[in-house]
């Protein structure tokens, strides 16, 4: 038996799309939309690595709902980080969000990890609870025809002092924006 060592550098055959401009009404169960260019197109960032959407055998996105293709050999990972945006400088609170399988409207199921985001008011360091370190909602799937939405789960104070899940004005250099990264692993 001979064994030949493969010395080539390995590579992940994958594409990355970034969706942004997140909006949502502030209620438990509300769906989060990404009004990217008004057409569901991802950010034109390093477009070589954007994967195509909307066609036959491709992931579809209508602004709020992702639909997996019916015969995909690809695995998709959905990772979203929303922001806490409160117009009051010292706004405080917490809310959580997650991916939901909405394929069967009579049996909607939460899937993946729950993300929890607090305001930037940092008087609470050292406390624990309602916070995870990597505050992203993550879900990985290759289920054919599965339909996914990002939805708000809950808030510790009924979304009081929260203005929006993203900032839509002219950002300062120290502002964040919500982003949804979708990886397609071939």
């Amino acid at each position: 038996m001979s064994y030949f060592l493969d010395t080539s550098v390995k590579s992940l055959k994958m594409g990355v799309n970034i969706y942004y401009n997140a909006t949502s009404s502030l209620n438990n169960g509300s769906t989060v939309s990404f009004n990217t260019s008004g057409s569901g197109a991802p950010l034109n960032y390093q477009p070589t690595y954007n994967f195509a959407t909307g066609g036959s055998g491709q992931l579809a996105f209508n602004g709020s709902k992702f639909t997996l293709p019916n015969a995909s050999q690809s695995i998709f990972m959905f990772k979203c980080a929303l922001v806490w945006y409160g117009e009051s400088l010292n706004s405080a609170g917490e809310y959580s969000y997650s991916w939901y399988d909405v394929t069967d409207t009579n049996n909607i199921m939460r899937v993946g990890s729950i993300a929890s985001i607090t305001s930037g008011l940092n008087y609470s360091e050292g406390r624990a609870g309602l916070v995870v370190a990597d505050e992203m909602a993550v879900y990985t799937t290759n289920t054919a025809n599965q339909e996914l939405e990002l939805r708000l789960v809950s808030s510790n104070n009924s979304y009081a002092s929260l203005t929006a899940v993203d900032y839509t004005g002219t950002p300062q250099v120290y502002y964040n924006r919500a982003r949804c990264l979708v990886y397609k692993l071939n």
Binding site: Y3, V9, Y49, S119, V173
Partner: protein
Amino acid sequence: MTYIKNAGSSPFATCSISGSESISASPPWKYTTAFDTPSTPLGVFNSTTKAIDTSQDCLAFASFSPNNNTVGGFFNFSFNPELMPELVAMVLPEVGSGTAGGLSRGDDTCIDISKAHKAQYVYVSTGAQEAPDKNRSIMYMLRIGV
């Protein structure tokens, strides 16, 4: 049969800060201590450009932590300050002030896709400490293709 592990084929690398390589300020960039120590041969530090170069495109994530917990402030740390910076940058409020709270995102990482990875300060508020916490700052890279 002999099996020789070949670390040189790894599509992954983590990169840390030794503290011996700094990037001079050049607007809009601020002074930064560079990520200069990749864990595998996927990347090689370029002492001239202060970037970690890769022969093929890599998806990179960087998280930076300041080495200070006594003053308040904000940091913006990015691979690219001009291309949708608030999306691809990380912004980190330095802890300890007990104020602020208007805007935050849990995912405090900056992202990039390129062959030369140099994450750097774009904004540092007055009084904030620029020196890195070398144990908490990390950049990792995934070699990708389409």
